[in-house]
C-alpha cells in the first residue's frame, strides 16, 4: 500500500492525466456529482456517488456499431470501430465496481461484445472506499463491502491522507508511475476507517435486508406472486431506474437513415418501456405489471440463474433516490420477500 497527503492529490491527478484521460466525480453547478474529465482546477466531488453510474464508460448510452454508405443503388459497409484510448476512471464506489463484473458476464461471454471489451481493456478503475454510506445503501445485501472496494486500484481517503492499493497488473503499473508522488505505507493504516464504516453499515436502515428469498430456481415461486399487482400499480413506465442503474444492460439496435447512408447504432433500452423487445408478433410483455416484474425477476432470479447465483443488483441505492414514484427494488424485496425482511 502507498499513500500521499490529501494536498498532493491534485498532483497525482495531474500525473495520471499526463498519460491517460482521467475521469472522476465532479460536482455540477447544482451540486450533483457526475463523471467528468479531470483538468487543472477540477475538484473531486465529496458526494457519496454520482447520479449516473459509471457504466457509460464501457457501455455508453448510444454508440455506433457500423455504417452503410449508399450511393445510387450500391451499399458499402463501413466498420466504425476505433481502438479505444487508455483511460482511468477514479472514484468508483465498491458497488459500482461490482457492477462491472455483472456487465462483464454479459458482454464478455462468448460471443464477446468487441465494442464493450475494447473499452474494458483500455479502462483502469480506481475505486474509493466509502466513509459515509447513505440511508439508501444496501450493498451489503449482495455481499459487497464498501470499505474494501475492488478495481485495479483501491483508494481510501481520510481527512488528511489518501491510501492507494493496487489489485491488478494494470493497477500496479499505474501505481508504479505514481512512485514519486506517493510513499509506501502499512496496510493497517486504513483499518480504523474500515471498522468505523462497518459499524455505520450495521446502523443503516436497510442493514437487515437480505436476498435470501431470491436467487436461482425461484422463478416458479415468485413469478405469480400476487404482490406484483400492487407493487407495479403506480409505475409510470419511465426508464429512470434502468438508466441510472449500474447493472442494467439491455439495449436496442436501430438504424438511422442519414440521407446519405445508414448508421447502425445501439442505445440503452428499458424493460419498463412499452416497446421493449417488440417483435413482429408484438410485445411479449403487454402490461406494465409484466414489464415491472421482468426487471426485478431479472435482477433477482434470472440473472443469478445464469450466473452462478450472482445477483445483478449492487445495492447502490440510485433507484431509491430517483424513481419518480419511489418504487424500487428494496420495496420489491421486502414485499415479495416477506415480512422478515423488514
Amino acid at each position: 500500500m502507498r499513500k500521499c497527503s490529501l494536498e498532493k492529490l491534485d498532483s497525482v491527478f495531474a500525473e495520471i492525466a499526463n498519460s491517460f484521460k482521467l475521469y472522476l466525480p465532479v460536482d455540477d453547478k447544482d451540486g450533483k456529482a457526475k463523471y467528468s474529465e479531470w483538468a487543472e482546477g477540477v475538484k473531486w466531488s465529496n458526494a457519496l456517488n454520482t447520479v449516473r453510474s459509471p457504466k457509460d464508460f464501457f457501455f455508453p448510452q448510444t454508440e455506433d456499431l457500423m455504417g452503410f454508405k449508399c450511393s445510387g443503388k450500391n451499399i458499402e459497409i463501413i466498420d466504425t470501430r476505433n481502438e479505444s484510448e487508455d483511460f482511468v476512471v477514479f472514484g468508483v464506489r465498491a458497488c459500482d465496481v461490482k457492477s462491472f463484473d455483472i456487465l462483464d458476464r454479459v458482454f464478455l461471454k462468448d460471443p464477446v461484445d468487441s465494442y464493450y471489451s475494447n473499452r474494458r481493456d483500455h479502462g483502469i478503475i480506481i475505486s474509493v472506499a466509502c466513509t459515509r454510506p447513505a440511508e439508501t445503501c444496501f450493498c451489503h445485501t449482495f455481499g459487497i463491502d464498501p470499505t474494501e472496494p475492488a478495481g485495479d486500484i483501491s483508494v481510501w481517503k481520510t481527512d488528511s491522507e489518501v491510501f492507494w492499493q493496487s489489485n491488478t497488473e494494470k493497477g500496479a503499473a499505474l501505481l508504479e508511475k505514481l512512485q514519486a508522488l506517493t510513499e509506501e505505507c502499512d496496510a493497517d493504516a486504513v483499518n480504523d476507517q474500515k471498522e468505523k464504516v462497518s459499524a455505520i453499515m450495521k446502523k443503516l436502515p436497510l442493514a437487515g435486508l437480505t436476498a435470501d428469498k431470491f436467487g436461482a430456481g425461484k422463478t416458479k415461486e415468485l413469478f405469480d406472486a400476487p404482490e406484483w399487482d400492487s407493487l407495479s400499480e403506480a409505475c409510470l413506465g419511465c426508464g429512470t431506474c434502468t438508466f441510472i442503474c449500474p447493472t442494467c444492460q439491455c439495449y436496442d439496435i436501430k438504424d438511422f437513415n442519414t440521407g446519405k447512408g445508414v448508421v447502425r447504432f445501439r442505445c440503452w433500452d428499458s424493460c419498463m418501456y412499452s416497446e421493449f423487445t417488440k417483435m413482429s408478433a408484438g410485445q411479449p410483455r403487454l402490461t406494465q405489471k409484466e414489464r415491472f416484474r421482468q426487471r426485478f425477476m431479472h435482477k433477482l432470479v434470472y440473472y443469478p440463474e445464469n450466473n452462478d447465483g450472482l445477483f445483478s443488483c449492487v445495492g447502490c441505492g440510485r433507484c431509491l433516490a430517483k424513481c419518480p414514484i419511489s418504487m424500487n427494488i428494496v420495496k420489491v424485496m421486502k414485499t415479495i420477500g416477506g415480512k422478515e425482511n423488514e
Partner: protein
C-alpha cells in the same frame, strides 16, 4: 417497394433550355424504387402520355414521377394518364422543374442540380404513396342562387330550364337588381326595362323557381352536393301569398317622407311600398324604420284599405332551412361611396351626381319622368361635364378608390353623353377621361358615334376640382393633349363612380368558405380555365361578384355558371377528393383538439370499445372524420398531439421524406 417510373419533360426549350434533362433522368434512375427513367420533349402531349402509359405496362410501374411544369398545371393530366394505364391516379407525383427551376435559374449546372433534387424529393414521396380512392356522396338536386339581379335571374332561368328546381334569395323586396334601375343599355340603346322585365316575369311564372325576396342567407353548412342553408326571410308585414299588388296601400300610406332607394333618394316613397311597377314579386313591403304603426302602434291605414287583408303587423322574421346541391353567388355590385372624393363637390352640390343617379334622371319611370332636369332647381342643364374613372384605376398609395378598372364606365358615359345630345341638342357635353376603353362588339363604333355624330367633347385629362358657385359648377380641369388648363361653368356634373362588390359578399364568402381577393371580388377556381367556379366545390360565381362586367358579359357568365350547376346536378353521385384527413383510432386520445381547428365541422367523436394492449377492455372516445366534408387542409394533423391524425396524399411521413430528400 414501389416500382417507380420517372418522366422528365423538356417542355420544348422551356425546361431543356436551362436544365440538362438527360442528366436529370440519368440521376434519378439510381434513386431507390426507380426502375425506369426517361425524358421527352412534351410529356403532356399525346405522344408523351403514350410513353408513360407504355412504361407503366412494360415495367409494371406502381408509381410515377413526372418532372415537368407546376402540378397546378398538369397534375390532373398525368393522373388521368396513369388512370388510363390502369395505375391509381394518386400514385403520380410532379416535380416542378419548370416554374420552380428552369424559369427562375439561368445557370444550367445549378438548374440541373436543383431539378435532380426536386426529382429525388418527388421519388421519395411516391415511395410512400398509397393508392387512394375517392369516396362518393349523393347530390341534392336543387340549386340556390344568391342575388336576384340579371345575373341571378339568368342563372336561375337556365337551371330551371334544364329541369332542376332553383331558389333565388334576394335581399331587396324585388328581384331585378341594378339593371332594373337603368334606362337604356349600350351599345344597342334598347331599354333596360323592356328586356329585363319579361325575364323577371319568366322567373315569377316558372314553377321550378322559388323566389325568397327580402331574404338573406344566414348560414351555410355542408359541402358540394349537400349544402344545408338557412335563409332568413325578413318580415315584410304583408302576407306575400295574399297581397295582390294593387298598390292602394302605397297610395294611402300617410308616411310620405321616405327616401326612395330605387331612385337613389332623389324622390320619396311611402312607408309601405312596392319598389317599382314591374317588381317581382309584386307585393307591398312595410319599411319598419318609417311605419308609424310598427313604431308607435297607431295608424293602421294600410290594413284598413287592403281589401285582400294582406297586412300583418305581427309578422316575424322567418327562418327557412333547405338543402341544395349547388350554390351560385350573384351578389352584384354597388357604386363606391363618393365620400373620399370631395374635390368633385358631390356632398356640397345636388347637381353633382353619380352615373347611376343620372340613369334614374333620364329614365321615364324615374323621379323626373325621364326629363333631364337638375336635381337642385329642376332646370334644364345646358352644360354637362362627365368625369370618368372616379375611384377607378387609383394609385394604391392614395388610400382611396380602387386600383382596378371598373370596365363599364367608358361605355355608359358614352351612352349618357350621346343620349343627352340626342334628346337635348342644345346642351354642351364634356367627357373627361384617362383612357377610353372600348373593347367589345360594336363598342368602339358606339363611342365614335358619340364623338363624331353627336359632337360630344371628349377631353383627355382629369378634372381637378369642382366648385359650386351660384347656380353653376366651376369645373377646373386639364387637357393633357393640349397641355392646357380648362375652366368650364357646368350645370351638371356626372361622376362615373367605380363599382365595388356588394357589402354582403364578404360575410357570405366566410359562410361559404369561398375565397375572395383583396377587393372582395370572389376568386375563381382558375382565372382562365374555371372562371365561373369558386375554389370551393359546389359554389359558382355569376356576374359582377367576380369582377366588373357589363350586361352581355354578365348574362353569358350567368349562363356558364348555370351550365356548371346543371352539370353538377345532373350527377347522381359525386366522387370526392380522397386527400382527406383520417384518424388512427388506436392512437386517438379523443381530446377534441382536431375538432376545434376544423373549419368544416368534418370531425365528430364516438365512443368505441377497445381491447386494450394490456388485455383489458375500455370504452374510448375517438375522432371520426367525415371524408365527404373534409377538404384536406391538414390543420387537424398538427393540432393532434399524438399524431393519430394524418392526411392522405400529404402524410407526415411523405412530407418528411421530401424534407429528407431535399436536405440530403
Amino acid at each position: 417497394m414501389q416500382r417507380i417510373g420517372v418522366f422528365v419533360c423538356w417542355c420544348g426549350s422551356n425546361i431543356a433550355g436551362t436544365v440538362d434533362v438527360q442528366a436529370v433522368s440519368d440521376a434519378l434512375k439510381n434513386e431507390p424504387g426507380v426502375v425506369f427513367s426517361t425524358n421527352y420533349q412534351y410529356m403532356c402531349s399525346q405522344a408523351g402520355q403514350d410513353i408513360i402509359k407504355q412504361a407503366i405496362a412494360e415495367h409494371k410501374l406502381t408509381g410515377i414521377v413526372v418532372c415537368s411544369c407546376s402540378p397546378r398545371m398538369h397534375e390532373a393530366t398525368f393522373r388521368k394518364t396513369a388512370a388510363a394505364a390502369g395505375l391509381n391516379p394518386y400514385m403520380v407525383e410532379i416535380a416542378n422543374i419548370r416554374e420552380q427551376c428552369s424559369w427562375v435559374h439561368k445557370d444550367m449546372p445549378i438548374g440541373t442540380e436543383k431539378a435532380i433534387i426536386l426529382g429525388k424529393a418527388a421519388v421519395a414521396k411516391v415511395n410512400l404513396n398509397t393508392p387512394l380512392t375517392p369516396g362518393e356522396t349523393p347530390v341534392t338536386k336543387r340549386a340556390l342562387v344568391i342575388g336576384g339581379g340579371i345575373a341571378g335571374i339568368q342563372t336561375a332561368l337556365d337551371i330551371a330550364d334544364a329541369g332542376f328546381p332553383v331558389d333565388i334569395v334576394e335581399k331587396k323586396p324585388t328581384i331585378g337588381g341594378k339593371m332594373a334601375q337603368l334606362d337604356k343599355t349600350f351599345p344597342t340603346l334598347d331599354c333596360a326595362a323592356c328586356i329585363l322585365t319579361p325575364k323577371m316575369v319568366d322567373v315569377a311564372q316558372n314553377d321550378k323557381i322559388r323566389i325568397f325576396s327580402y331574404s338573406e342567407v344566414t348560414d351555410v353548412k355542408g359541402f358540394v352536393g349537400n349544402f344545408d342553408v338557412t335563409i332568413k326571410k325578413h318580415a315584410r308585414y304583408v302576407k306575400e301569398d295574399v297581397c295582390t299588388g294593387c298598390g292602394l296601400c302605397t297610395e294611402k300610406c300617410p308616411q310620405k317622407k321616405v327616401p326612395n332607394e330605387f331612385n337613389l333618394g332623389m324622390d320619396n316613397r311611402r312607408a309601405i311600398y312596392i319598389p317599382f311597377a314591374q317588381a317581382v314579386p309584386k307585393v307591398a313591403t312595410i319599411d319598419p324604420n318609417y311605419c308609424t304603426m310598427l313604431k308607435t302602434g297607431k295608424c293602421g291605414v294600410c290594413s284598413k284599405v287592403c281589401t285582400a287583408g294582406a297586412i300583418d303587423y305581427k309578422q316575424k322574421d322567418e327562418f327557412i332551412e333547405e338543402k341544395y346541391g349547388a350554390i351560385v353567388v350573384a351578389t352584384g355590385y354597388n357604386p363606391i361611396s363618393m365620400d373620399k372624393f370631395d374635390e368633385f363637390a358631390y356632398s356640397q352640390s345636388k347637381d353633382v351626381i353619380t352615373s347611376l343617379e343620372f340613369e334614374r334622371l333620364t329614365n321615364a319611370a324615374g323621379p323626373t319622368a325621364g326629363k333631364l332636369l337638375r336635381p337642385s332647381d329642376g332646370k334644364h342643364p345646358h352644360t354637362i361635364v362627365f368625369v370618368q374613372c372616379v375611384g377607378s384605376r387609383c394609385d394604391s398609395c392614395a388610400q382611396k378608390g380602387k386600383e382596378y378598372c371598373s370596365k363599364i364606365c367608358c361605355m355608359y358615359t358614352a351612352k349618357h353623353a350621346m343620349l343627352t345630345r340626342d334628346k337635348y341638342p342644345d346642351t354642351d357635353v364634356y367627357v373627361f377621361y384617362i383612357d377610353v376603353r372600348t373593347p367589345g362588339k360594336n363598342f368602339d363604333e358606339f363611342y365614335r358615334r358619340a364623338v363624331e355624330e353627336y359632337d360630344v367633347h371628349y377631353v383627355k385629362g382629369m378634372v381637378g376640382k369642382v366648385t359650386p358657385e351660384g347656380d353653376k359648377l366651376k369645373v377646373q380641369a386639364s387637357d393633357l393633349l393640349t397641355n392646357k388648363q380648362m375652366h368650364i361653368d357646368a350645370d351638371l356634373v356626372v361622376l362615373a363612380a367605380a363599382i365595388e362588390p356588394d357589402k354582403s359578399a364578404r360575410p357570405l364568402a366566410t359562410m361559404l368558405t369561398a375565397s375572395m381577393d383583396t377587393n372582395d371580388f370572389f376568386t375563381e377556381a382558375h382565372p382562365k380555365l374555371r372562371p365561373v367556379e369558386s375554389p370551393t366545390a359546389g359554389v359558382f360565381l355569376s356576374g359582377t361578384c367576380q369582377g366588373p362586367k357589363d350586361i352581355p358579359e354578365t348574362v353569358s357568365q350567368a349562363g356558364a355558371a348555370a351550365s356548371k350547376v346543371i352539370g353538377l346536378l345532373a350527377k347522381d353521385k359525386l366522387t370526392g377528393n380522397p386527400c382527406v384527413a383520417h384518424s388512427d383510432e388506436w392512437m386517438c386520445n379523443g381530446c377534441s383538439s382536431c375538432e376545434r381547428v376544423c373549419p368544416y365541422g368534418a370531425i365528430t367523436y364516438e365512443d368505441k370499445e377497445f381491447r386494450m394492449p394490456d388485455r383489458t377492455t375500455a370504452i374510448r372516445r375517438i375522432a371520426v372524420v367525415n371524408p365527404a366534408v373534409c377538404q384536406g387542409c391538414g390543420a387537424c394533423t398538427v393540432a393532434c398531439p399524438s399524431g393519430a391524425m394524418d392526411l392522405r396524399g400529404f402524410a407526415s411521413s411523405q412530407i418528411m421524406a421530401e424534407v429528407d430528400a431535399i436536405c440530403k
